[in-house]
């Protein structure tokens, strides 16, 4: 269970104070698949970074399984990111001089998993995201955008995190691969009880999530859904 309590993040821009996240509160059930939609610059990525402990809120708190992130020191926050969070960044943020399989193995290396085990899992994950086996040992800067996105998703899944935060996970994928990724994320939440929060512009993707939030001027509202996913 993830509880977001009156979360505020503000920045100074000259004389102005900007609040991309302004008093946001919501809860995510364990194993849920949710989405946040909103215009560019509406604060979606800022909210993701607060949930993922990449940034610290100006006020408010994020509580994960009863543990408040606000009180944790940097070392514990790093551990939280390593153990509990899987990020899928909009720009992939892969390490360019490493191969696809090495990129996927990185979070497992930081978690202290032995090389043979992490190599096996990395290959399995890359197969799950449908990356051609011959491309697994290729440097990621020689892969296409869609392929890099799949490697980024595989990396996010590496340590079997409790929460996956995905920023436009299908933005660079063709329709068929995008569908596959959505199905993969759905199965993760359904079968592995992984909580998934997706930021997207893709209405069709948002439609496929259990809950959909709209972020507008720093405020979060939940859209009322008529149908059911899955």
């Amino acid at each position: 269970m993830i509880e977001v309590k009156d979360l505020v993040r503000q920045f100074k821009s000259g004389d102005r104070t900007i609040k991309p996240v302004n008093g946001v509160s919501f809860e995510l059930e364990k194993g849920s698949l949710s989405s946040i939609v909103g215009k560019s610059g509406s604060g979606k990525s800022t909210l993701l970074s607060l949930l993922g402990a990449l940034d610290k809120p100006t006020s408010g708190d994020v509580v994960v399984d009863g543990v408040s992130l606000a009180g944790l020191p940097d070392g514990k926050l790093t551990e939280y990111r390593r153990r509990d969070i899987g990020f899928v960044f909009q720009q992939f943020n892969l390490i360019p001089n490493l191969s696809a399989v090495d990129n996927v193995m990185l979070p497992m290396e930081f978690a202290g998993i032995r090389k043979a085990a992490r190599l096996k899992r990395a290959k399995e994950l890359l197969e799950q995201v449908q990356l051609d086996p011959e491309k697994q040992s290729r440097r990621v800067n020689r892969l296409s955008g869609g392929e890099q996105q799949r490697v980024a998703i595989a990396r996010a899944l590496a340590n079997e995190p409790k929460l996956i935060l995905a920023d436009e996970p299908t933005g660079n994928l063709d329709e068929q691969t995008g569908e596959h990724i959505i199905e993969l994320l759905s199965s993760l939440s359904r079968d592995h009880n992984t909580t998934i929060l997706v930021v997207t512009h893709d209405r069709s993707l948002a439609q496929k999530t259990e809950r959909c939030f709209r972020l507008q001027q720093g405020k979060l509202t939940e859209e009322v859904r008529t149908g059911s996913r899955r």
Partner: protein, 487 residues
């Protein structure tokens, strides 16, 4: 992929930049190693000089020196007196003899009192007969000396038509394994005499004398009907010095029939700084009317002082080159950290601890330093000899120390050469074969030995780690949010 493997990979991410960084580092490291080599070589030479000659005094009977002069001989009691003076670490007595090739009916000991140049020594040296033949031909100088020596008023009976003479052989009784100047004997084959305080019937023979008389280790010869066994052959470095025999002090005293007498004493002082004061103290203890105390290596002090300057300069240059290597590493790594901020942020975002990221950058810098060290060691092996000789020749031109450079053990081929040096220093002591200080400053060997290389590389790596720690610590200040902010 481990941190180390990632670091190695990162070091070669930009091959052109890596090559440039390694080249710059190699020059700095090579210079540092060359300076360390020069420092070690000069330091070892200074130590050697201080240990062998730089801190010795020579004591002769007052009014007598070598084959010249007169006065009363020194005694073993006076050696004890000298040994009790403060800062004196050892006193070695010598007894000089002249060995004259035996002819029929001329064996025996003769105390001669002629002028020093010819047959007649100045009262110090007993002349005894031997089966040995001198290795040096008399030549013009020898025959001229012969004529001069026999025309003296107190010399041997002279004749107007002197036959071509056979030169005498210098024999010295020694109380330790040193030559008559106090320098350690260079025994090229065999061993020393063992116990130098008893008459053992053993002798050390100079190379040319051994060759002339077909002697080798184990061979025998006679001196005044006593048989001596050759235990070792030494190389004194000069033709005159190699026409000599060393035996134990009691042996020489017995042959000369002067059991308590010494021709000279070699007094070793504990440090160069104490030589002057100790000289005065020894002179005072023995009495000016009894002994002349000389410091034959006065000029050597200047040489050592110059070498000390070279040592200091090379040390400063070594530190400066090390610091340069450290600064290069620091700047390169700061640049890399700035360039890879986003990547560092990604690593943190996916859970990399600060220490892992810091370690990655330190290891990357060490990879660059390792490459630089390999190239630097090659540079140093070729350049260290030249750099050392340049330093020494520019600092010891007034003291004229001949210098030889030799290539390093690792790289091997380094051109040999001699730095323009100069002649020897006037030697002190008794009339033995003192070839001058040039013999003592024989060479400064600047070679890149494995020990020096290891010490230098260790210092370079230590500096590199310090240089890389600053940028590594900078990575801890990078916040992962910077990854997303760029999006």
């Amino acid at each position: 992929m481990s941190v180390l493997a990632r670091s190695v990979g990162n070091a070669f991410r930009n091959k052109i930049r890596t090559a440039a960084v390694v080249a710059v580092l190699a020059v700095a490291i090579g210079l540092a190693l060359a300076m360390l080599v020069a420092n070690q070589a000069v330091g070892a030479k200074v130590q050697e000089l201080n240990a062998s000659v730089g801190t010795t005094l020579t004591v002769n009977p007052a009014g007598g020196q070598g084959f010249e002069g007169g006065g009363e001989p020194l005694t073993t009691a006076e050696a004890g007196t000298a040994a009790s003076v403060a800062n004196v670490t050892s006193v070695v007595g010598t007894k000089a003899l002249r060995l004259q090739t035996a002819t029929t009916g001329t064996t025996g000991t003769t105390q001669q009192a002629g002028p020093g140049g010819g047959f007649g020594p100045g009262g110090q040296q007993a002349t005894v007969s031997t089966s040995l033949v001198a290795a040096i031909d008399a030549g013009t100088l020898g025959n001229r000396n012969n004529a001069s020596g026999n025309s003296g008023t107190t010399g041997n009976t002279g004749t107007s038509n002197l036959p071509a003479r056979a030169l005498p052989i210098t024999a010295t009784g020694i109380g330790a394994e040193v030559d008559s100047t106090g320098k350690a004997l260079n025994i090229t084959s065999g061993t020393g005499l063992g116990d130098y305080n008893t008459a053992t019937g053993k002798a050390l023979v100079g190379t040319s004398l051994a060759e002339k008389n077909s002697l080798s280790v184990g061979s025998t010869f006679t001196v005044q009907d006593k048989t001596f066994t050759v235990t070792g052959i030494f190389d004194a470095g000069t033709a005159f010095g190699n026409n000599a025999v060393y035996m134990t002090l009691p042996e020489a005293q017995t042959l000369a029939a002067t059991p308590d007498e010494l021709s000279s004493m070699i007094v070793t002082v504990n440090s160069m700084e104490n030589v002057d004061s100790t000289k005065t103290a020894v002179q005072s203890a023995l009495g000016a009317d009894k002994a002349d105390v000389t410091q034959g290596q006065r000029n050597l002090e200047t040489a050592v002082s110059s070498l000390d300057s070279v040592k200091n300069i090379s040390l400063v240059a070594f530190i400066a080159a090390l610091a340069t290597a450290g600064i290069i590493i620091l700047l390169i790594m700061v640049m890399l950290v700035r360039e890879r901020r986003r990547e560092i942020g990604v690593l943190k975002a996916i859970g990399a601890p600060n220490r892992t990221i810091g370690l990655q950058f330190v290891l990357e810098s060490l990879v660059l330093v390792a490459l630089g060290s390999v190239v630097g060691a090659v540079i140093a092996s070729f350049a260290s000899g030249g750099i050392a000789s340049a330093l020494i020749s520019s600092n010891t031109s007034t003291t004229a120390a001949p210098t030889t450079q030799r290539g390093g053990g690792l790289a091997g081929a380094v051109p040999n050469g001699a730095v323009p040096g100069g002649g020897g220093f006037p030697g002190g002591g008794q009339g033995g074969p003192f070839g001058g200080a040039s013999q003592l400053l024989t060479s400064v060997t600047a070679s890149l030995s494995p020990g020096v290389l290891a010490a230098g590389i260790a210092a370079v790596f230590a500096v590199a780690i310090i240089g890389a720690l600053v940028p590594a610590l900078l990575t801890a200040r990078i916040r992962p949010i910077e990854v997303l902010r760029g999006e």
